[in-house]
Symmetry: C2
Subunit: 593 residues, 2 copies
């Protein structure tokens, strides 16, 4: 039975609105892959996710923050509630929500599966990261592994018995994956022996599962330097016997636990591969294709990171809203009589500013991430090849924004949630400070926001002769046209002006020297990101017209107004620097600091 | 002997530049009060502070973050290094750095004393808060207490034997101090019996000192409701016998410790006064004057908060700079050959952006806080009464900015310091994440930033018929004139345009309905704050012309350029909302969220 209290993980009215009114995911049921689904089965999957997230994930969120995983010299101990949560998650089939029926999956559209998974992130980011990594590793094996690898590993992973990791970063090679040194030599029997040190491996060791399946980037000895020489290996913690039982422990040693600002319930590890005879490894797919396999998966991983940032921002917003409605403090200007009772702080304009900003960030960010997920569904299942291609192109150009914009602005939402709580928000007796700390990782991992900016301006905008950028422009202008009459007409005109500016900026940058253009890539990302989220708000303003709930409708329109009046002008202010190809950053010399 | 390595607490070249070239504090030695001082004695006091901060405060900064004060049922235990640090601090006379010689003080100008104290904040904000509170409490007693109170408490406080607190907030009364309920009744012997509950009392209990001197806001029973009925009481933890020895324990009970996001080395307490027979209390000054006494002290307390935010930002910046110079990662655009060695990340334009932003925030913030401290010196010691009055007016209007701007932007600097460090910055193995967490308190305490915005727009701008605002405008325009030729001429013109805009905004707001004007007060504060910091940068750009260190000079000019090109336009973008008296915040209804 659902709780009678409104959830503090999501505003369900909003999620339903985004899925069914804005994105019309119910239309997907007309496609073969989703023919057995209906709005009812979608709703049921979301209901289940919400129930499990509230029952098994949220209650130990603070506990795993306070009681970090610890290494006793032989084992890494994790709060037992994490295992219970993973069991409940796997038993309900959530690990395979988007997978084929034949793999035991629910074959849900990616949009619906991701929306459901977001609820676990909102409830407990640290615990949710174990299934997230497992699903990502399983997808890599499914996409590029041999039949034997699929049969041996994937069913155990989708059942939640074995947990996956992504072992990319090395101590000297984070943003610069081209420099990784982990090396593999053939053992002569079809397997490889891997040697190298990895760092920041989430879930790299723990007592949560019988086995751990590491997906490791390394180079075949003698492979060329740089990204072209990187291969993908599968390295299990325990070797798997032909009958599927677990054999001896592989040569993968925990070199240490890393202690983070937040996200503390997820073990973060340094791992040494091959301190002894070499870690037994299996090549996944072709040699030297490792990074392209990873990047193949990266679009979806980056949507997942963006959505994680959104969901932490979203639950923080709902907590701040709840607090602002119930906390009496002060009186409105003009009614200062101290003998009258204090009023809920939501009545103060500045508190409303902070709540509206949060609402604009998290609902705008949610719209963006789900739009991207919808593109994944289009790319996979649209009937028409042209539509699939266009969806892929749009997804390519949007991915850096989907990752970076929520990571910045939904983190900002968490900051505002603390501020709404005042002194209480700064204490660990309230949850919002943890949301902030957990969210602070998102602008860093899966490619820092600075890397996303270079990806957007240096690669995506110009890819295929600018085809992705033109497609994005077409979609935005179509939304502007659809909003050109009615309540949002002013915003539509505003976005049209902003997009004209962006086109001017983009061609100026393209015509300028690339070092001067790229130096300001972060500002470009912020400008385009805000315009894209403004587009998401415009889409919502149009879709909400027919909504039966008048208060919901007014709230959407007011948050849209907030975004256009208060946010967009600040992003447009970057245009001066961009149009002048301002060399201030480029000219600064290290010894001048 | 000073360390051979450059300090990570401050760039001493910059501090010297700000004190002597920009603010010319050496000119103060011409005044009677500072006649025994010279640049040499000022330098010596800063040298001592830096040495003590590095030797006694910095080394346990992480330890007190990890090992929070704990209550064993009878005593609150604090890491012993805190006591050692306080001893060293007091023995060096730092507790009385600005006090009269006759009180055993050094009689330093406030500007110099504050600059020195800032180094302790940079080294260890939590430990520095004990002397900060003690000095503030001692100053309150010195300003408003009886001769007996001064004699009984102040010498022990300035010697660091007794530690002070400020007990203002109650569980239901934080921003709204008008609503405090703590009540005092006369005991008939000149003392009072105090009853009430206080929360967020930093240093409210600990084992660091023989006694604790609480400065408590409460109301005499029967006093009028609201701020007019609030009095200031002195309530020692242990009663003091006539011979100065400590008597019985007062009726002040620890109701609990509060666990914070940062600033963890400072005990934060809930205190119950008068659970038994009533806490024995002494009235300080006149009844019903308590809040005015507090506000009297508040200008300086708010400069101290602003400076604390700056110093955390500053040390974070220096750590990020150090990391960026030494961490190789990736290669510049156009030199991607993976067989060449990786390059220090300071060579990447986006890392320079983050470092320049930090530099612009922390050096601009330092200039602002020290400028305000210099006004305190002017108000106290300028020969001419008109000059003293003007300094007081300028200080009044600048105070909300001095508190709020660094609290926001030097916190942002800490956020950028984490980002420069990448994944490492997110770990507790590096110090920058703690700087962020410690700094996050500053936008909340001593009046939230939202309260500062209302203070600026609702009170300070219009005070004395707009006299303070006009004075500020006069000073800014004078600086613009001084910069009108030379390298900063373009920036001067830019600031002139911005200030014209601010004057237009200010009169529009003054002419509009006050609820619509005040609804956007936070944006007004951001706009004026950025303009004021731009003014600080312009002053530095002029003062640096004669500086002998060419790299330092170029760095200052580049940071100034960064601030004018990258920062100021974003603040100016608020003008649209302000000029239209945008009612979006005001119109938002609680049930629309």
């Amino acid at each position: 039975m659902p709780s009678l209290l409104p959830s503090l993980l999501i505003d369900r009215r909003d999620l339903d609105f985004q899925l069914y009114d804005v994105l019309r995911v119910q239309d997907l049921t007309a496609r073969d892959r989703f023919a057995e689904h209906s709005r009812e089965t979608f709703d049921a999957s979301i209901d289940t996710a919400l129930r499990l997230a509230e029952r098994y994930f949220a209650p130990h969120n603070r506990k795993s923050d306070l009681e970090e995983p610890r290494f006793d010299g032989s084992r890494v101990h994790v709060t037992p509630e994490v295992r219970e949560a993973l069991d409940a998650f796997s038993k309900a089939g959530m690990m395979a929500a988007g997978q084929d029926f034949e793999l035991g999956g629910m074959q849900l559209p990616h949009t619906v599966a991701l929306a459901g998974f977001g609820l676990f992130k909102a409830a407990n980011m640290a615990t949710a990261s174990y299934p997230m990594l497992t699903m990502a590793a399983a997808n890599l094996i499914l996409a590029h592994g041999s039949e034997e690898q699929k049969a041996r590993y994937v069913p155990n992973m989708l059942a939640g018995r074995w947990i996956g990791t992504m072992a990319l970063t090395e101590p000297h090679a984070g943003s610069s994956l081209a420099d990784i040194r982990t090396t593999a030599e053939p053992a002569g029997d079809g397997t490889w022996r891997l040697t190298g040190n990895k760092i920041f491996i989430s879930g790299g060791d723990h007592d949560l599962s019988e086995n751990i399946v590491h997906m490791v980037l390394g180079r075949v000895r003698g492979a060329p330097a740089g990204i072209r020489g990187i291969s993908l290996f599968l390295v299990p913690k325990f070797l798997v016997e032909p009958d599927g039982s677990l054999g001896r422990r592989n040569d993968v040693a925990l070199a240490g636990l890393i202690h983070k600002m937040g996200w503390r319930g997820t073990t973060s590890t340094m791992l040494n591969f091959g301190e002894g005879e070499g870690a037994v490894a299996w090549l996944v797919g072709e040699p030297s294709q490792g990074l392209s396999y990873m990047f193949h998966m990266m679009n979806e991983a980056r949507i997942a990171v963006g959505l994680g940032a959104v969901m932490l921002g979203y639950t923080g917003y709902l907590h701040a809203l709840d607090y602002a409605r119930s906390r009496p403090q002060g009186r409105p200007a003009g009614a200062k009589d101290p003998s009258t009772p204090q009023r809920p702080i939501i009545e103060h304009a500045d508190v409303r500013r902070m709540l509206l900003a949060q609402k604009a960030y998290v609902e705008g960010g949610l719209a963006l991430c789900l739009y991207a997920a919808r593109l994944v569904d289009e790319r996979r299942t649209a009937a028409d090849e042209g539509a699939r291609r266009e969806a892929g192109l749009l997804l390519d150009i949007l991915t850096p924004l989907v990752k970076a914009w929520p990571a910045q602005y939904c983190l900002e939402a968490n900051d505002l949630a603390i501020q709404v709580h005042g002194g209480y928000g700064y204490t660990r007796e309230y949850p919002v400070e943890q949301f902030y700390r957990d969210n602070r990782l998102n602008p860093i991992h899966e490619g820092t926001n600075g890397i996303q900016a270079l990806d957007l301006l240096g690669r995506k905008v110009t890819m295929e002769g600018g085809a992705a950028f033109r497609l994005l422009a077409r979609e935005i202008r179509a939304a502007i046209d659809r909003a050109a009459s009615g309540e949002a007409a002013g915003h539509a005109a505003d976005l049209a002006r902003t997009w004209d500016l962006i086109e001017r900026v983009t061609s100026t940058l393209a015509a300028g020297p690339s070092d001067r253009a790229l130096a300001n890539a972060s500002l470009y990302l912020d400008l385009v990101g805000h315009a894209v989220v403004a587009w998401m708000w415009l889409r919502q303003a149009v879709a909400v017209r027919e909504h039966p709930d008048a208060a919901f409708r007014s709230g959407k329109l007011q948050a849209c107004r907030y975004f256009f009046h208060y946010e967009l002008p600040r992003a447009r202010a970057h245009a001066e620097v961009l149009l002048s190809l301002d060399p201030t950053l480029l000219d600064m010399r290290p010894d001048w600091f």
